[in-house]
Subunit: 331 residues, 2 copies
Amino acid sequence: MSETPHLTFDPDQAGMSKGHLVVPKGADSEPLPLPVLSFNKGEGPRLLITAGCHGNELEGPIVARRILDWLPRLQECGRVILVPVLNPPALKAWSRNSPGDGLNLNRVFPGRGDGSISERIADAVSRVLLPMVDTVFDLHSFGPRWEFAPASTTHPIADADLMSKTLRMSEAFKLPVTLVWEGPDTRGMFDTLAHSQGKIFVCLELGGGAVGTDNLAVAETGIRNALIALGIVRGKAEYPTFRQQKSSRTLKTFSSDQLKSPERGIFEPRCSVFDEVKQGDLIGILHPLDPCSSMPIDIRARTTSIVCGVKSGVPVDVNDELALLARPLHS
Amino acid sequence: MSETPHLTFDPDQAGMSKGHLVVPKGADSEPLPLPVLSFNKGEGPRLLITAGCHGNELEGPIVARRILDWLPRLQECGRVILVPVLNPPALKAWSRNSPGDGLNLNRVFPGRGDGSISERIADAVSRVLLPMVDTVFDLHSFGPRWEFAPASTTHPIADADLMSKTLRMSEAFKLPVTLVWEGPDTRGMFDTLAHSQGKIFVCLELGGGAVGTDNLAVAETGIRNALIALGIVRGKAEYPTFRQQKSSRTLKTFSSDQLKSPERGIFEPRCSVFDEVKQGDLIGILHPLDPCSSMPIDIRARTTSIVCGVKSGVPVDVNDELALLARPLHS
């Protein structure tokens, strides 16, 4: 019989403490210890911050380290549980999915204690950490294949009160974009589980492409803004600077707004983040791998939209997403 | 007995023509047809442009398509042979090395006719295309793991006259950086072969990170500038705009200027391209994967330098390159 997932330390002790969440061994691996830090200043909001669910989205794991520089000093109340890397095997491999079982960790929640490594990580987080908090920030990005505007995102939530609170929390990050995202299928996602338990869950998409100083500064400012809004740390919220601008807009996007590739080929982006496009405007060009064999295909906007993200110049397969377009939530 | 590499069309015909360079079959694959375009306007410079040597550097393959929009119309004289994708299997896999044999195509020149797929590609290019030209532009980039300033680069060349001509050609791109790069080991590189035959060879490093509209525009302008300088196309050279600046500088870098990772970990960049740093300035931080187990390590500049490239926030291994620093060539 396998052991149950557990913490190696007591997160109820005052101040900063650290240790591991032990994901029990399974048929495919030895026990996996996930580093966990706890910041306890007594009564107040109870927050879980997770990062590194996908191994090629390093904005979160790095910002998680930057938080350590000021959170212990600035915390006023409440509790923060911080998991800088949810999926160490995927991070070591710089891959979105877990290299062992090939699964997307963010599609297997609430997980299974007797499952493969991704399922056991999800199970450990769901059973040990999630019950300890009221609010979750899960730090993602669009990864190296995208140019993407740093955004706080949420899927639509059936519970109107929770939706309202979640949207307000999302906007408190003051990131360049707050996005209400009607995804095609949210089964197995961490946020779906948290929302079903009545918790506020905000998914951060902290950019895309190279993880550089600019995007990291935006991300860190956003997280601090949210901690200030929760009352956990003291300070004054400020808009981060993104591409010479300090601004924020709340947008919505539907599955039908996402442009997908009609063929295999090489995608050439012809627009940038925050471009405002009209129906028929050129978003990009899909080039055949062999320019002697067939013609390029223009990829055009279907409606008046704002570009939230556009794929980098990369090889794409049929049905790969090429651009994420959105429109104002209140219009 | 295997067939020999050959073109499926006659590049001596006037105007634009196209077809394939057939890389013969070998033990590991069927024949591989590489698309080739030829632009022949008679007497004048004879230029080979290659792109897509490394499969995750898409700037070149995309700019190669953009050239098609204006080269036939603007060409005045001479000949251009264009190979948009040297290594289609690597491009399909979005990987630096060839997926079949795991080799870096740019370390196996002049190749082997009876070798693995990378060696046979190198052999076909060396035997069929290289003898047809006096000048080669090979379009690379630093790939998705780097922030990098678009640069034309050359290694030092023993032949002083060829070095002088190569540097002048490199500067004619008017890219943000012209870089003389004393690499640690240039064996098997395409430029080493071309230089040994007295040809001018410029390696373009057309950026890094996301392949977006900005960098593609810089790259396209740079290539057009070089074609203008050669007299192949008519037009007026202009500095491309890179990060709100129109400027160009000629730098040199030595192996000892490159900062490498002392440990395995997560690299956090703390500088950006074009930052001017002094000895001891912070370039980045190397975080341990487990923040509970060990401390971060500061990565600092060794001398007064200009940042040409800095690694993105990614997982790194011991001895992985973290930053490429340089200094003015003439100082």
